[in-house]
Symmetry: C2
Subunit: 390 residues, 2 copies
Amino acid sequence: MSALPGTRGRLGRVTEVFIAGVGMTRFGRRPEPLADLVLEAAERAIADSGIEEFDAVFVGAMAPETFLDVSNMASVVVDHLGLVPAPAVRVETASSTGAALFDAAYYAVASGKVERALLVAGEVMTRVSTRRATTLMTGVIDGDERAHGATMPALAGLSARRYMHEYGLTPEEMALVAVKNHRNGVANPHAQIRKEITVEEAIASKIVSDPLRLYDCAPISDGAAAVVLVGGARRGAVRVAGLGHATDRLAVEMRDSLTTFASTRLSAAQAYRRAGIGPSDIGVAEVHDAFTIFEIIGTEDLGFFAPGEGRRAVVEGATGPEGRIPVNLSGGLKARGHPVGASGLAQIVELTWQLRGEAAYPSRPARWGLAQSIGGLATNNLVTILEAPR
Amino acid sequence: MSALPGTRGRLGRVTEVFIAGVGMTRFGRRPEPLADLVLEAAERAIADSGIEEFDAVFVGAMAPETFLDVSNMASVVVDHLGLVPAPAVRVETASSTGAALFDAAYYAVASGKVERALLVAGEVMTRVSTRRATTLMTGVIDGDERAHGATMPALAGLSARRYMHEYGLTPEEMALVAVKNHRNGVANPHAQIRKEITVEEAIASKIVSDPLRLYDCAPISDGAAAVVLVGGARRGAVRVAGLGHATDRLAVEMRDSLTTFASTRLSAAQAYRRAGIGPSDIGVAEVHDAFTIFEIIGTEDLGFFAPGEGRRAVVEGATGPEGRIPVNLSGGLKARGHPVGASGLAQIVELTWQLRGEAAYPSRPARWGLAQSIGGLATNNLVTILEAPR
C-alpha cells in the first residue's frame, strides 16, 4: 500500500482505476452530425471493453453551442448512444476538455460510486468558415487582450518569438516539430493529414502569425474519441497512474514568462507525485502541439529536457520515434487533427494503444505513458500518466 | 460501517463528504458581469467555511457562450476568484447544471484526492431580450420537436394539460403553487421577487403557453451560488447523504407519460438508497418549479405523494410552511429566480441553511433535506439528500 499523497482516501484506500476500452473516429472534415461521430467512437470503445452497461456517461465538447448551435449536449449524447437512463454530464475546459473529462470521470470511479464509466468527447468545427472558427477560438482569451487584437495564433506567435530570442531557436528548427509529427501521422489511420512535409515546405508556407506559419499550426477538425473506465484491475487493462491539473492567469500580460507554462509544470509535478515516478521513467508521450512551439515548451515543462534544451532535442531527434522519449507518434494535434474538445481524450486513446502494444506507429515497449493537454493559452492544463498492463 | 450500495469503494470505505460553507447572491436583474456575481457568492461561501485554500474549483454555467459571448468559463472564474493555479473545470447539464456540478465535485472529494473543493455556479440571462433568452433555452429540446415549434413552456404546457386531464387539476389549483412560493419568497433576502400574489392575479396573468400563465413560470434571472465541500466530518457541517442522477429520452414523443418524469423517479430511488432513508424521512425540500406543474409532478415523483395526489397536497397545504413536507420555503425557482446554471446549487445552499437552522423562512427542525433539479424537459435530473449536523 502506497503512502504517496493522493493515493489514499481519508478512511481507507480508494478504488484503482483502469482503462477497459478505447476508440476513436478518423479525424478530419466529417459530414456526420457530432452525435454520430460520438456514437462511432463510443461503439469502438464499448466493443474494445466488452462492457455494455454503464453507471455514468461523461461527455466532453468545447463549444457545440457556437460551432453547431447545439445545447444540452450531455442529454443529446446519452440519448443518441441509447444509454438513457444512465446519468450524463458535460465537462468543458476549452481545448483541454477531453483531458478534464478524463479527470472528472476518474474521480467518479475512484470514489467507488461509479464502477463503469463511458467517456466520450467530440467536436465538429468545420461547419463554420475557418475565419469564424478562429474567431470562436479567440473567445478563450482574456477580454482585454482580445479587445486589443489578440488571437490564439498571435499569442502563440509571441511565445515562439520570445523563445527564439531567449534560446536561439530558428524557424527551420521549429519546423522540425511539424516535419516529425507529419511523418509520424502517415502511419495513423485516424489522422486528418497523412502527408510528409519538408522543412523547406514548412518555412515556405504562409504566415499565420509571425513567426508561426501554416505548418506550425494544427488544423481545424471534426472527430471524436471514447474511453471506458472501470474500478478495479482487469486483465490487459492500462492503469491510470497519476493525474495533474493546474490553471494560470488568463491574461498573458500577467505571466512571468512566455517560454514556460506554469500550468504544465504544476500539473506534471502533481501527476508524477501521484504516479510515484519521474520524467525519466516516461517511455512514450503525447504533447499538446496545437502550435509547434507548444511541443518544444511542453517537453521542457514536463521535465523531459531542461529549459531551452527542447530546441536541441528536436534537432537531435530525441523526441523522434527512435529518440529517448518519442513524442506524438500519433502525429499529434498537428497531423492527427485537433477537434478541440476531443484532443485531450484522443491523446489518452493513443497512449492506451501504445501501452498495449497496439499503436499504428508503436514506441519501444514502454511501462509508462504521459499525455499533456493545454486549455486556452495554457490557462487550464492537465497531465495524465498511464501504466502498461502487467 | 454501512453495507448499502454506493457507500463503499471496492477496496475500502470512501471519504464522507461535508458542506463546510455556502453562499449566494441576490437573484434578479443584476448589472454586474457574471464573474463578479460568482465572486460575490464564492466570497460568502469561503467566509462561511473559514477555508481559504482549495484543491479544486468546480464551475457551473449553462450557456455563457450564448447568453454572454463568454467562453473558457472555468479559467475566467478561477482567475477572477484569485485562486490560480487551483485546477478548475466547468460542468454543464442545461438547467440542472448546479446540481450536476455538485455531483462532480462530490465524487472528487469522495475519492479522497481532493480535500477542499470550491463550487460556484452562475448565470447572467438578462443581457439579452426575453425573447432571445427563451429562444436560447429552446436549444435544450430535441431538434425535430424544436423544428415543429416546441418551446420549454409549450412542452411544460402539454404536461400541465395532460395532468389536468388525468387528475382533474384546475388552473386555480395549479396557481396555488405560485401563490405559496411567492409568499415563501417574501422572507428571502436573496429572492428576485418578494411579492405575494393571489390566485385571482395568477389566473388573470397573460397566457405563456396554454394552460400556463405568466405566474406559472419562473422568471429570467441573473445570480450565482457557491458551496465549499470537504472530505471528513467538521463540527456543524451538513453531510452529503445521497445523490441520484438519471436521464430520459430527449424527444418528449418517446416518453410513456407526460405527468411523471422517470428521470426524477430513478434519481430519487438512487439518492434514497444511498442515504439509507425513504421519502417520509425528508423534513424539508427544494423542488424544481421552473413551471408550477413541475413542482406538483416533482412531489409525486419524489415519493412524497402518490401519483395524482400532488394536486390535493397543494390544495390542502401539505407542501406549505406548516405542512407535512414544506417545499420551496426559499420561494423556489418561481420567486427566488432561475438563473439556469445556478438554480441547482442555490437549492443546496438553501437546504444547508435549513438544516443548520439559519434559513430566512425556517422549516420545523429537520434531519434530512432533499433537493431536486430538472435539466431540460426532465432529460437530465438530479436528486441530492443532505443530513443536518449532529
